[in-house]
Amino acid sequence: MNDTPEKWVATYEATTPEQLVDAYRCWADEYDKDTCQGMGYVGPGVAANLLDRYLESPKSRVLDAGCGTGLVGQAMSELGYSRIEAMDFSHDMLKVAEAKDVYGDIHQADMNRKLSFDDNSYDATICVGALTYAHVGPEVFDEFVRITRPGGFICFTVRDGAYQEYGYRKRMVSLEAGNAFQLKEMVDTDYLRKEDVTAKYCIYEVMES
């Protein structure tokens, strides 16, 4: 990834939440241009299409967890979804997301902690580009399962490497073995198209507890 902007690298190399917030503060305004045009970032659209194949209604209540600048919300909105909520740790990214005018409620929250949402609040949770080094730990899956209703879906991307090394795989397998959720599909496909980088796209159905 020779052309990867320094601002992107900074988000991977952050060692504290403060550094991560700083990294995104410096990048918020240029993020969409740098990722979509610069690197061929197709993750949001691919994930939105995957989730759309499973949801029954465009009225489904969807949480965009780690929404960043709102690229996923925009993709879902273009597919006809009108009840999307945004959540991110970075105020600066949330400001850009809000300006896209595709979200209902906007929440600032740290996904490494317990979320303030009630159990079974959402029909679906979508999380694109946030499950990676230095961002969010694998315990977040437990929270996604809790806030998504049984029969609802959790759709996310995870980069190969981080998938195995960062404990995501272990947690996913363990939650599936415990029948918390059931894998519907896992595909490895284009993520940063211009950089020839792929990611795993996963969709799980939440089971009755």
Binding site: Q164, R169, V173, S174, E176, A177, Q182, L183, K184, E185, M186, V187, D188
Partner: protein, 214 residues
């Protein structure tokens, strides 16, 4: 499933191997035209594509487990793979497979039992249309892992419904939890396209230090 598909009904409702072999004996000669024609059996194409995605080259040694008449072997051959070995329980199906002239060797064996194949004998295993009602139970995974070398791949289809009802899902997860293999991809794919039946198309990588007897 159309009720006029008597042959297919017979295959799915077999309660023992004698009945299943009987069903395939009656069907062997018409199998390719029936499945490719009226049922729209597209799983072999999707599985061969999945194998092509993960195989490091076309010289990999592949076991076609439950080869039937050799449809997957034919597609893999067309893609340039040249070291494919056939295994099936039905002598009649194997005869049709052999006539295609694409397999390095053919073996009659029961996937529900221990295979007379050495550990790590293959770089990859493909198993299409075999993990389904009335055929092979979930313990077959343990043997497929055993005969595949570490970091080799296993691609297979499981007919929808059978995935959960027949114990496949539980065994797949248990084997992953034991680090016997790692899931690379799981897709919903058409199975019998003209009958609107889908399957799970799965690709696993066999891990080095797994414990298959979990």
């Amino acid at each position: 499933m159309g009720s006029d598909n008597k042959t297919l009904d017979k295959v799915y409702t077999a309660t023992n191997h004698a009945e299943l072999m009987d069903a395939y004996k009656d069907w062997a000669n018409d199998y390719d035209s029936d499945t490719l024609g009226s049922f729209g059996y597209v799983a072999p194409v999707a599985a061969a594509r999945a194998m092509e995605r993960v195989a490091p080259g076309t010289d990999v040694r592949i076991l076609d487990a439950g080869c039937g008449t050799g449809q997957v072997g034919q597609i893999l051959t067309d893609k340039g793979f040249g070291d494919i070995h056939a295994l099936d329980y039905s002598e009649d199906m194997l005869r049709v497979a052999e006539s295609k002239g694409i397999y390095g060797s053919l073996m009659q064996a029961d996937l529900s039992k221990e295979l007379k194949i050495e550990d790590d004998a293959y770089d990859a295993v493909v198993c299409v249309g075999t993990l389904t009602y009335g055929h092979v139970d979930a313990s077959a995974f343990d043997e497929l892992i055993r005969v595949t070398r570490a970091n080799g791949h296993i691609c297979f289809t499981i007919r929808e419904g059978a995935y959960e009802d027949y114990g496949y899902r539980d065994r797949m997860i248990a084997l992953e939890k034991a680090d016997a293999w790692e899931l690379i991809s799981m897709e919903e794919a058409d199975y019998l396209k003209n009958e609107n039946v889908t399957c799970k198309l799965c690709t696993y990588k066999v891990l080095a230090d797994g414990a298959p007897n979990a």
